[in-house]
Amino acid sequence: MRPVPETRRGLLKKTVAGAALLAAAGAVPVALRKTKLREVPGGRALQFFTPAEYSIWAAVADRVLAEEKPTGPTASDLDIAGRADAFLAPLPRNDRKDLKQLLALFDNALFSLLQGGPPRTFTSMSAEDQDAHLRRWQSSRLAIQRTGYQAMKRLCCALYFSAPETYASVGYPGPPYDLVKSVLGARR
């Protein structure tokens, strides 16, 4: 049986390709790394993200959860980046570092250019370019990019679709509280 070599790679820095990419990301001139900042609602203190990382996550959540015609709250309405900040706060130190490096690479203008995208940070791109950027990460030949895409997509989706405010947009009536209450009441 032949193992597929790329699957042996760990997350980001544990791979040769990942280490090279991260080194490249760090070497990019500051101007090309400048994240377009977004305000944290209510000026709330962040637990995990820096303001730049918060802004990257918020921009990703906007595109991952974008709709043709609005049927539910937007990612910003629910402050998905803020929820991610709270959820990620207890991560172990090494996982934190991996994720932060991933976000820096994701918003790196030079890396975007190298991959055939515009020489802009993700946070500065048009919505169309952002979607193309996400697709490049989703289907990349590099396992670490696909890993990074999935990490961001899954957490954005999990935080959004587990919020009761979104249930109506997916036709989910919610848990059968009345049934449970009536049965438990009858048993008492």
């Binding site: 032949r2 760990g10 043709e68 996400l134 997509k153 959004y160 679709f161 036709g171 989910y172 449970v180």
Partner: protein, 506 residues
């Protein structure tokens, strides 16, 4: 008594210390406490009851699953659903109950020198089935998400049947995976653990075991830290248990990690971890399916469980609640939202690969992360890809029989099947880590049992090959996967092993 915290450091000296309160630990605790032993059970997860089970994914996954619902292989290519609570995985599993198949026991006998036979385990399974109210589901009680699998398989002439479930007065709400809100599911927390507590066992929830201390051939102590209920942050208190005998029942992934943290790396600890890797497809119907309600799993087909052309697979249903569904649904943005908007109309059907039966198969490996938790690697192989494709084709064929409008893969670039002519598209789909959504809800192996210490971690009686007073009793001892949902096998094996634990104590 079940303790959830302590305002002081604890030092305990029972006969028996059990690490983990899932089906293995709960069973041994019950059997040994009733036999008169003093028993302490240490559980990392919290103690939760039906009043807290609010049927919300946002509450249940962080509270009741390992790594707050985010456990995965190191490269995130396989999402790991694994329970973490008093009662372990039995609190959140979907109740599907099977005895260990005879051919699996025969395989273990042949390859690992085990003496386990169906006759030996039968009385144990019979007792478990009675205690847990394990009964077969009537076809009429299946929900459409399951019934369509049944109907499709019948039309194809494939083996299919309703499953057995461990429930009593079940309302079929559909929320087994978030903790049963009406105590219908007969989890370990409602059965064998109370049996143990009534016989004098002491259960400590919110207690993270850090290591087992040992000298020469004896385990001398189990040491850990107490966690704050709810937040699960270190509470600043320690626990030290100095028992006559230790039983490790942390489940696959956690049990091998505990042995590794303790320097007990003799033999293949962490190696040959099996996951029943799962791929699924979403079948979209014109009519409403409402797969979020009804018994989540009540039908299974084992028609392809023992294929000669590759790894076997079996087919079951998965419940469709918004959060879990969204993490598997393909794509992002408007395409994802359009699929999600059809959630009430989707059937989620899964194919579970039967791993571990090919001589060259390595499966997964557990090592330690920085910080000591389990790090799981499970390299994808051509054997897996072939099995994934075969499983997806089978799922698609089932739903083509029952009138699905389209069947979509959970794939970064999804394949859509609308007729038999489209099935070939599955052969061309790109496979690889994080190209297709892969899950596991059945973790097995990593502390395999066997006669040969070079090939196994515990002996055929589940006693550690090096430490005479340490047993491992949980799904981690299985030398292969099972080809069926593992809960009842773990209970049955633990019941059988309890006699060996008891003999070692006396």
């Amino acid at each position: 008594m079940i303790h959830t915290g302590s305002d002081k450091d604890l030092l305990l000296k029972p006969d028996l210390c059990i690490v983990g309160s899932g089906p293995g630990g709960a069973m041994v605790a019950s059997r040994l406490a009733r036999a008169g032993a003093s028993v302490v059970v240490l559980e990392e997860g919290g103690y939760h009851t039906k009043e807290e089970f609010d049927m919300q994914e946002a509450t249940a996954f962080p509270r009741l699953y390992q790594d707050r619902g985010n456990r995965a292989t190191a490269d995130l290519s396989i999402q790991v659903l694994q329970g973490r609570a008093v009662g372990g995985g039995t609190v959140v599993n979907w109740t599907t109950s099977y005895r260990t198949p005879d051919h699996v026991l025969e395989h273990w006998q042949r390859t690992e020198g085990l003496a386990l036979t169906p006759e030996m385990l039968r009385p144990h399974f019979e007792e478990v089935e009675q205690r847990l109210s394990i009964t077969k589901v009537d076809y009429e009680d299946t929900n459409p998400n399951n019934r369509l699998i049944y109907d499709g398989c019948k039309k194809l002439g494939w083996q299919v049947d309703t499953t057995k479930r461990n429930v009593r007065q079940c309302l079929r709400t559909g929320y087994c995976g978030m903790g049963c809100p009406v105590d219908a599911k007969q989890s370990a927390a409602l059965t064998y653990l109370p049996d143990a507590v009534n016989a004098g066992a002491e259960v400590y929830a919110n207690c993270r075991v850090e290591k087992i201390e040992w000298k020469a051939t004896r385990a001398t102590a189990v040491v850990g830290a107490l966690l704050e209920p709810g937040t699960q942050k270190a509470a600043g208190r320690t626990i030290r248990v100095e028992p006559r005998l230790v039983v490790v029942s942390g489940g696959a992934l956690n049990s091998p990690a505990l042995l590794l943290r303790s320097g007990l790396d003799q033999g293949p600890v962490g190696k040959k971890t099996w996951l029943h890797p799962v791929v699924g497809m979403g079948a979209f119907y014109q009519e409403r399916i409402e797969a979020f309600y009804g018994a989540p799993q009540s039908v299974a087909s084992h028609h392809f469980a023992r294929r000669s052309e590759g790894a076997g697979f079996f087919i079951e249903a998965a419940p469709v609640h918004p959060m879990l569904a969204s993490t598997a649904m393909p794509g992002f943005g408007p395409a994802l939202r359009a699929r999600m908007a059809l959630l009430p109309n989707v059937c989620a059907t899964i194919s579970l690969m039967v791993d571990g039966f090919d001589a060259g198969e390595e499966g997964g490996t557990v090592t330690l992360r920085d910080g000591g938790g389990p790090k799981l690697d499970y390299p994808f192989t051509d054997r897996m890809y072939e099995c994934f494709r075969a499983g997806m084709k089978a799922i698609a064929r089932i739903h083509l029989q029952t009138g699905a409008k389209e069947i979509v893969s959970f794939h970064a670039d999804p394949v859509t099947i609308r007729s038999e002519a489209d099935l070939g598209l599955i052969d061309g789909m790109a496979m690889g880590p994080n190209r297709v959504a892969v899950f596991t809800a059945h973790q097995m192996g990593g502390c395999r049992m066997g006669a040969d210490p070079a090939r196994s971690v515990v002996n055929p009686q589940l006693r550690h090959h090096t430490l005479a007073n340490l047993f491992v009793v949980d799904g981690s001892v299985f030398p292969t996967s099972l080809g069926v949902n593992p809960m009842e096998s773990i209970y049955g094996l633990a019941s059988w092993a309890s006699a060996h634990v008891r003999a070692a104590l006396s």
